[in-house]
Amino acid sequence: MMAPLLDLITGYWWDLRDLSNLSRMIYGRLDDWGFPDWSIYVISGMLGTLGIVSFIGGVAIINIWVERRVVGRMQSRLGPNRLGPFGLLQPVADAIKLMQKEVLQPASAPGLIYTVAPIAFTVPGIAVFAVIPWGRHMVLASLDVGLLYILGMSSLAVLSVFMAGYSSNNKYSLFGAMRVIAMLVSYEIPIVVGLLGVVLFAGTMDLQGIVLFQEDNWAFMVMLQPLAFLIYFFAISAELNRTPADIAEAESEIVGGYHTEYSGMKFGLFYAAELINAVSVSAIIATLFLGGWWMYELDELVPGWMIFIGKVYGVYFLFVWTRGTLPRFRIDQLLAFAWKWLTPMAIINVVVVAAEVLVWEESGWSAGFWIPVFIAVNGALTGALVVGFVKFFAPKFQRFPTRPRFYPDIDVPSLPAVTGAEFMAKGGQA
C-alpha cells in the first residue's frame, strides 16, 4: 500500500525525507542560469548554515521553556504557566526583557575581553553543528577529522569562560573561571580517551562514517560501547556546567561564577550559549552512540532529520533529568571523580576495544558473529566495573553519620550519635 505513495515522492524536490533533494534542485536551477561553479559552492554553504543557525535559534528559545517545565515537574513545581498556552510565550518575554535591560559593566573591567567573551562562548557551540550529519545526504561539512574538530571547538569555549571570569575584575568571577580551568584539565582526558573507543570500532573520525558503521552492523554504538557512553555523558555534563557539576557558577557558593558581573543581553548570550551547548552535546551523543539519523528500517519512511531531532531531544531529556534530580558535587569530589574513576575506566575501555578490533580483523569471521559477542562482553564488563567501583571504592552509605566523613580532623560538635542499630531498636524514631 505504501509503495505507490512512496513512488510519488521519491527523488523529487518535495521529498521531505531528504532535504538535499530540495537543495540539489536549487543548484540545478542556478547552474542553468549560468552561475559560476564557485558561487554554487558558496550558496550551498550559506543554505546549510542558514538552516542550522535557524534550527539553533529556535531551539534556544524553545528549550528555555522545555527545561523549566520539565525541571518544574520533577521538583513538584508548576514552571512557567502564565503567558500563552502552557506558558509557551515565557521565553519570548524573557528574551525581550533581557534585550531591554541596561547593560552594566564594571568600570575596572578591560572592555574588549569583557565584550568578546560572551560572543566567543557562543560561537563554538554553533560551529560544532557543521560536521553533524542530519540525513544520508545532509551534512554541511563532511570532515575526515570531524570528531577531533568537535573536541577542539569545545576546548575553545572554556578559554572564553576564563576570559569572562578574568575580565570581570571580581573575585567570585575569577573563582568560577579557575574552577572551569581545573575542570577542563581534568575532564578533557576521559572525554578524549573515552571517544577513542568509538573511533577504534568505527575506524573513522568522520561522523557520517560513524553513523554508517552503525547502520552496516545493525547496532547502536551505545550497545557496543556502554562504558564510553557513561564516561562521555558524565564528563561532558561537567564541561557543560550543568547541575550535578555546575561548580563554576554555583549560586550558593560564588554568586554567579564567571557571569556574576554580566547583565542584559551579554548575560543573555551566556544563558543562550549554555542551552545551545547542551543541544550540540546531545546531538554529538545522538550521532556517536545512538545512530544519528539511522533507526533500523524506520528512516526509510520517517525523514532522517526528524529521527535525529527526536534522538537529540531524548538525550537532552537525560541532561535535564540529571539537572533536576541530582545535588551538586563539591569541587574536590568532582576532580577526584575524573581522575580516580573516569580516566582509569577510559583507559581500560581503550585496551579492551583495541583487543576486540584486533581479534575481529585477524579472525576473519563476519560482523554478524562478532558484534553480538562484543555487545555481550562490553555490557558485562561495564556492569562489573560500575558495580565493583561502588562496592569497593565508593564511600559507604551511612544513613546516620556519626562524624564528618571527608574531613575527620575538623573539630565539630558531635553529630546525632545514633547508629542504625540503635535507631531500629528505638522503634524507628530518632
Binding site: 576546548s155 578559554l159 580551568i181
Partner: protein
C-alpha cells in the same frame, strides 16, 4: 577570479591575522591578554595548515595549542605569585631580546637557504589515516620514544613540585 585566487586571499588574511596577533603578544603589557593573543595566533596557524590541506594537523593544533596549552599558560600565570597584573620590568629583558634575535636569525637563514620548489601533486584528500599508519608501522620506535620522553617530563614535574611532608591523608567513609 575567486575560484583561482581564493587560496591566495585566504593565505594573506591568515598571515596578517597570525602575525598581527603575534606582535600583540609582545606588545600588550598584561600577561593574560598576551596569553589570549597567543591563543589567537595558534588558531591562525591552524588556518595555515588548512590552507596546506593538512586537516589533521590543523585540528590538532586547535585542540592542543589553542585549547590546552593556552589554558595551561593561564593556569601558570594565575598560580605565579610574582606575575603582577601590569607586567613590569625584569632583568631578563636583555637576554630574552638576544635569544629572540638568535631565533629570528636562524629562521631567516633557514627560509633563505631552503629551495622552495612548488609541488605539482594534488592536495591530500585525508591525512589522519595515513598519519596513524606511519606512526604505528614504520616510525613506531621514534613515536614510542617521544611518548616515554613526555612521560618522564611529567613524572619529573611531579617529583620537583612534591612537598617533603605530604598533607595528612583524608579518610573517606568509615
Amino acid at each position: 577570479m575567486i575560484a583561482e585566487n581564493g587560496i591566495v586571499i585566504a593565505f594573506w588574511l591568515l598571515a596578517a591575522t597570525t602575525i598581527g596577533c603575534a606582535l600583540m603578544v609582545a606588545a600588550v603589557r598584561e600577561l593574560v591578554q598576551a596569553v589570549l593573543f597567543l591563543a589567537l595566533t595558534f588558531v591562525g596557524a591552524a588556518g595555515m595548515y588548512i590552507v596546506l590541506s593538512a586537516d589533521f594537523v590543523a585540528v590538532v593544533q586547535v585542540l592542543i595549542y589553542a585549547g590546552a596549552v593556552s589554558v595551561l599558560m593561564t593556569f601558570a600565570v594565575m598560580l605565579t605569585p610574582a606575575a603582577d597584573r601590569r607586567n613590569s620590568e625584569t632583568v631578563f629583558q636583555v637576554p630574552a631580546l638576544v635569544l629572540a634575535g638568535l631565533v629570528l636569525a636562524v629562521l631567516v637563514f633557514v627560509t633563505l637557504d631552503t629551495d622552495w620548489a612548488i609541488s605539482d601533486r594534488a592536495a591530500f584528500s585525508a591525512t589522519a589515516a595515513s598519519l596513524g599508519e606511519a606512526f604505528l608501522k614504520p616510525y613506531v620506535v621514534p613515536f614510542e620514544v617521544a611518548s616515554v620522553l613526555l612521560m618522564v617530563a611529567m613524572i619529573g614535574a611531579i617529583v620537583l613540585t612534591q612537598e617533603d611532608e605530604p598533607p595528612p591523608r583524608r579518610q573517606e567513609g568509615e
